[in-house]
């Protein structure tokens, strides 16, 4: 059972990490985050279901289009819910993205349907036995893909022009402007990438759970907790915190029962932030007087 708990914890944890990376990406580039990130998780899964199952298109195509849809959502969120407020130096982007999430969740509810549906996957039909525990192959695939994507993002950031542009804006937006980089467009790209990551997570976890209009909400909140816990400015910290969070959640559920999971995990978060106010791997901003 411990194996199952660990695998399950690592799997969910890597997904939290992936969604939290989305918070990280927009935060470092623009100082803002999309609080409707959970809705992007939902959208990824719902689009995947609608295209791949309802319309019966080939799954790879459905997945690609679903991810494209998520990226588009990111662009729309940035343009309508973030930029108008940031340009007026208002913090209301925070509430605007929350409201945007409510609108999107309900829009999905009325188009996709009210019932949870199941996204079939060959990797989640027949369990295999590993160390005395039955697991779906997908449960093993998820942490591998999750960490793989996180690693790929790192590689993209380090190796491609787009990645370097994002990093440049994150490190020094003014200097980036002087390089001829359009910071606005870069921020929009970061939002697209952020929603895309959430979409990947949504598509990966959908076959294990179910596809519904509200599947992403709790994931979004937990991922935000993960992003903060890891130190939202540190990509490594965020992924690490995701794994820790997933494992802690699974272990508390297995030992104390799921009724105590949220109390214990959220108490630990408050405690951790009291001890490390900038998150596990976050760096304190220099207090310049």
């Amino acid at each position: 059972m411990l194996t199952g708990t660990l695998v399950s914890g690592l799997g969910l944890g890597s997904m939290y990490g992936l969604i939290a990376l989305g918070f990280h990406v927009t935060y470092v580039v623009s100082g803002t985050v999309n609080f409707a990130q959970g809705s992007a998780v939902t959208l990824g899964a719902v689009l995947g279901y609608a295209l791949g199952v309802t319309l019966g298109w080939p799954m790879p195509l459905a997945v690609l289009l679903a991810l494209a849809g998520c990226a588009l959502l990111g662009l729309v969120v940035e343009r309508l819910l973030v930029r108008p407020f940031v340009e007026r130096a208002s913090d209301s982007w925070l509430l605007a993205t929350v409201a945007g999430g409510i609108v999107l969740d309900n829009a999905i509810l009325f188009t996709f349907g009210k019932e949870p549906r199941s996204l079939p996957s060959v990797l989640a039909t027949r369990p295999v036995e590993i160390l005395g525990t039955g697991l779906y192959p997908l449960q093993l695939v998820i942490p591998v893909v999750g960490l793989g994507v996180a690693f790929a993002i790192r590689t993209v950031f380090r190796r491609t022009d787009l990645g370097r542009v994002l990093l440049a804006v994150a490190q020094n937006a003014d200097a980036a402007r002087l390089m001829g980089i359009d910071v606005r467009r870069t921020v929009a790209c970061a939002y697209a990438l952020s929603a895309l990551l959430a979409g990947v997570a949504g598509l990966l976890i959908a076959p294990l759970f179910s596809v519904s209009a509200e599947m992403g909400t709790l994931f979004g909140i937990k991922a935000f907790a993960v992003a903060i816990l890891g130190g939202i400015g540190s990509a490594t910290g965020v992924v690490l915190a995701g794994l820790l969070y997933g494992l802690a959640e699974a272990l508390v559920t297995a030992t104390l029962g799921s009724t105590y999971t949220q109390i214990v995990v959220f108490s630990v978060i408050i405690l951790a932030l009291a001890l490390r106010p900038d998150g596990l791997l976050g760096r304190a901003a220099v207090n310049k007087v």
């Binding site: 985050v33 819910l81 108008p84 407020f85 007026r88 208002s90 913090d91 209301s92 925070l94 509430l95 605007a96 929350v98 409201a99 945007g100 409510i102 609108v103 969740d105 309900n106 829009a107 509810l109 009325f110 022009d161 370097r164 542009v165 990093l167 440049a168 490190q171 020094n172 003014d174 200097a175 980036a176 402007r177 002087l178 390089m179 001829g180 980089i181 359009d182 910071v183 909140i221 935000f224 907790a225 903060i228 816990l229 939202i232 009724t259 105590y260 949220q262 109390i263 959220f266 108490s267 978060i269 408050i270 405690l271 932030l273 009291a274 106010p277 900038d278 998150g279 207090n287 007087v289």
Partner: protein, 820 residues
């Protein structure tokens, strides 16, 4: 009338009466809705204390609402009177709020949001697991409502009670906002550093704000059980916390009536949409977005701007302030060998100076010399690694800022840190008794504060929000505020920056008058005429160490000081062999260029031109507007007025990235390399904006020119030394193959050997035909490589000429070190 002090209490009383009347004439469900609006307004007012006054975000206020509701329900079910349960619930809320403040104080921004979110979840799930006490998921059914004098409290009475409570809460908020504590909260929000240096412990102020906020919200929650007859954990979900924030923001954070308006919207809108059944949330989300888009500063905040402007103030008397300030036989501030290092770099080392009472002691030195670092150590923002700071027998080294303020050391800041939302008068009144939160307003407070403002030379309105003041007035108000605590020592950090000559001269007079009151004045300043005219004693620093000390006259002839300021003449950089001759069509042309930050223009109709292949120097003292000119030309500072042409293309309205793509490369002040990217990656980014594809040979060629960069090609730019970073910044600029290269303070903070190497490179680039506009505070150095130069003073070109003419001009030295 609308702005008179009685307007708000009358408005609150009127609204309360209207609410009561509405309850009397309506029935049934309307009572319930009115009560809910009133309770939401109370809870929102609680959140407003935190969000509006103290600037702290909470996404966990549903937790306090729940705590109040459950405390009241559990107590009344146990037989305690509802009228005792109400204050008990508020007390429990305040206690838990104070406890939450402990972790919440340590975190900021999104981290604070997360702590409060976690708190909300813990409360919700704690209630679910609360067993028989909380009734678990099923919640508690409350039967038998409260009674008063035998009269049963049903919906109508509860609605009346809630409306009265809301009126009381709004009035209480109004009083709090005007009280010393409320002003301290706003001071902590506007400028926590400055509040600490007035002796207000930000932790204590924020903890109190949390406790008051939680108590009010819990109090509102305590009325819920008899009203709803049923409470359950699901009554207090995360979304309720968001609704509270929404109601405060929609109404207008920080305004008295904002939470009431917000409560009307967040409670009534869902009621109105009830008929939409399942489409309700969709429309609620959309309506919220529309409100946010239309009125970003909240409904009340937007309406308040429409109020008529206040009437002119009566003339005010100017009583004598020496009574307030004069200190006889004060003790000196003695600084002994203090030093501090940041990440291995010694920002200051072995600094010793004695500031005598009644005298002006100045700390001067080029940029990056460590002057402000010394001030920050003395005022308690940095903890020195070594040395002592003695005042009146106590060693203050390492004490927190608010403790140092209470010991009698006041300060001002390089960029003023006024409490922008408080009036000019309140800024000063708040400082009258350093650090005291509970103090009855005294009749003389306003008079004393006005006298201090008058003494400082402030002539504007006293009721104006400090955030709206022009630059010079900010300086004066900040000085008056620093004096209000009757300090023994006054530290001033570049008070003359951005002031006109006339204002600076007036400031000099003020500093002497302050010293005349027996106060030890410590001045950090770049404006040499000011320093030379007011100082009794001058300490000169360079690269973190003292290099000279003495009277102004002694210091200004010290060769070490001259070298530190103007740069040595022993540079290998040579002037052009043959004078520059080239086409007369300017690459870069500016005329009537006016720009600034906020109210104060820094550039005043600047005109300059740079022709192809020419190297032009832009000179002037600190604060003359050199860097502002560079930022305006490169598009980092917008909007600007006037004309800027780059190759005959008008760029004054273009953003920086478009200008960069047109071929203007600015190597900014402070290098600004991308610290986490490697040297090569930084260079490749330099070519990002150009149309031409990148040829690896170009990078090779540049690495040949900068051999030190080749050695470090793969390492992160942040690990490079200052000189290497400057080389990299120039190389990055050259990667753009620019039409013109702008160099802003390239020698800043570099060791002399490095500066020489750097200028050799600049001379080389010039000889290869690169068009260069260079700003350097080492004027002599800049003139060795330049063909021509402009001298700036207060944002205008005062002298222009060939490099040779300018180098021979004594006026230039005067601009830097002050006239002899």
């Amino acid at each position: 009338m609308l702005r008179s002090p009685l307007a708000m209490p009358l408005a609150i009383a009127g609204l309360t009466l209207a609410g009561l009347a509405l309850v009397m004439v309506s029935s049934g469900y309307a009572h319930f809705v009115i009560a809910l609006v009133a309770l939401t307004a109370i809870a929102g007012t609680g959140l407003n204390v935190l969000l509006g006054l103290t600037g702290l975000m909470s996404f966990g206020h549903a937790g306090f609402y729940a705590i109040g509701a459950y405390a009241s329900a559990i107590l009344t079910l146990a037989g305690v009177s509802f009228w005792l349960a109400l204050p008990a619930a508020a007390l429990i809320g305040a206690g838990i709020g104070g406890l939450l403040a402990i972790p919440a104080m340590r975190v900021k921004g999104p981290y604070l949001a997360m702590v409060t979110i976690a708190f909300g979840f813990i409360v919700e799930h704690g209630l679910i697991e609360g067993g028989a006490l909380t009734g678990g998921q099923n919640g508690l059914v409350v039967t038998g409502g409260p009674t008063l004098f035998g009269h049963a409290f049903l919906e109508r009475e509860l609605a009346l009670l809630s409306v009265l409570g809301a009126g009381g809460a709004l009035y209480g908020f109004h009083r709090l906002a005007l009280s010393r504590l409320g002003r301290a909260m706003r001071a902590v929000r506007d400028a926590d550093v400055a509040a600490a240096s007035l002796g207000f412990d930000p932790v204590r102020v924020k903890t109190l704000a949390f406790a008051i906020s939680a108590a009010l919200t819990a109090l509102a929650g305590a009325v819920l059980p008899p009203l709803m007859l049923f409470i359950a954990p699901s009554s207090f979900p995360f979304s309720q916390s968001i609704l509270f924030v929404l109601s405060v923001v929609v109404g207008g954070a920080g305004t008295v009536l904002g939470p009431l308006v917000g409560a009307l919207v967040t409670v009534l809108l869902p009621e109105l949409l009830a008929g939409l059944a399942e489409y309700r949330l969709l429309f609620f989300g959309l309506a919220t977005l529309v409100v946010l888009w239309l009125v970003p500063s909240g409904l009340i905040g937007t309406l308040a701007r429409l109020l008529p402007k206040p009437a002119p103030e009566p003339p005010r008397p100017s009583p004598d302030v020496t009574r307030l300030l004069y200190r006889r036989g004060g003790e000196p501030l003695v600084i002994e060998g203090i030093g501090i290092a940041f990440g291995g770099i010694r920002a200051a080392e072995g600094v010793s100076v004695t500031a005598a009472p009644g005298a002006v002691t100045s700390l001067i030195g080029p940029n990056g010399a460590g002057k402000t670092t010394v001030l920050n150590m003395v005022s308690g923002f940095y903890r020195p690694d070594a040395g002592a700071i003695r005042l009146a027998g106590a060693d203050l080294a390492g004490a927190p800022a608010h403790a140092i303020a209470r010991a009698g050391i006041a300060r001002t800041y390089q960029t003023t840190r006024l409490f922008g939302s408080l009036s000019v008068l309140d800024n000063v009144v708040l400082a009258l008794d350093p650090g005291r939160l509970w103090r009855w307003p005294r009749a003389g407070d306003a008079r004393d504060a006005a006298a201090l403002l008058d003494f400082a030379g402030y002539e504007g309105r006293l009721d104006r929000p400090a955030g709206e003041l022009p630059h010079v007035d900010r300086r004066l108000v900040e000085i008056a505020r620093a004096l209000a605590g009757r300090p023994r020592v006054l530290l001033l950090d570049e008070p003359a920056a951005g002031l006109t000559r006339a204002d600076t001269d007036a400031l000099g007079g003020l500093l002497r008058r302050i010293a005349g009151c027996g106060i030890a004045v410590v001045l950090v300043e770049h404006d040499m005429p000011l320093v030379m005219s007011v100082s009794d004693h001058v300490l000169v620093m360079d690269a973190g160490r003292p290099i000279a000390a003495g009277t102004p006259a002694a210091v200004r002839t010290d060769p070490a000081v001259l070298r530190a300021y103007l740069g040595g003449a022993d540079t290998p950089a040579r002037p052009r062999e043959t004078p520059w001759r080239g086409p007369a069509d300017a690459v870069l042309f500016a005329q009537g260029l006016t720009a600034g930050y906020g109210a104060a223009p820094v550039l005043d109709a600047l005109a300059l031109e740079v022709r192809p292949g020419e190297t032009v120097a832009l000179l002037g003292a600190n604060g003359a507007g050199k860097s502002t000119a560079m930022r305006s030309l490169a598009g980092l500072l917008r909007p600007v007025t006037g004309t800027i042409l780059l190759d005959d293309v008008a760029i004054a309205a273009l953003p920086a990235h478009r200008i960069a793509r047109l071929g203007l490369a600015l190597v900014p002040e402070g290098r600004q390399v991308f610290p986490e990217l490697t040297v090569i990656e930084n260079m490749r980014l330099g070519a990002h904006g150009r149309a031409e594809a990148l040829d690896p040979a170009e990078i090779e060629a540049l690495l040949d020119r900068f051999p030190r960069l080749r050695e470090r090609a793969g390492s992160r730019a942040g690990l490079l030394s200052g000189g290497e970073q400057q080389m990299l910044a120039i190389a990055r600029g050259l990667m753009a193959k620019p039409r013109i290269l702008l160099l802003d303070e390239p020698s800043l903070g570099l060791a002399p050997a490095m500066i020489n190497a750097l200028y050799a490179v600049v001379a080389e680039l010039r000889d290869q035909g690169v068009t260069i506009l260079i700003v350097d505070q080492m004027a002599a150095l800049a003139l060795t490589v330049a063909d021509r130069g402009y001298v700036l003073e207060q944002g205008r070109v005062v002298t222009a000429g060939s490099a040779a003419e300018l180098a021979a001009d004594k006026a230039l030295e005067a601009a830097y070190l002050g006239a002899a």
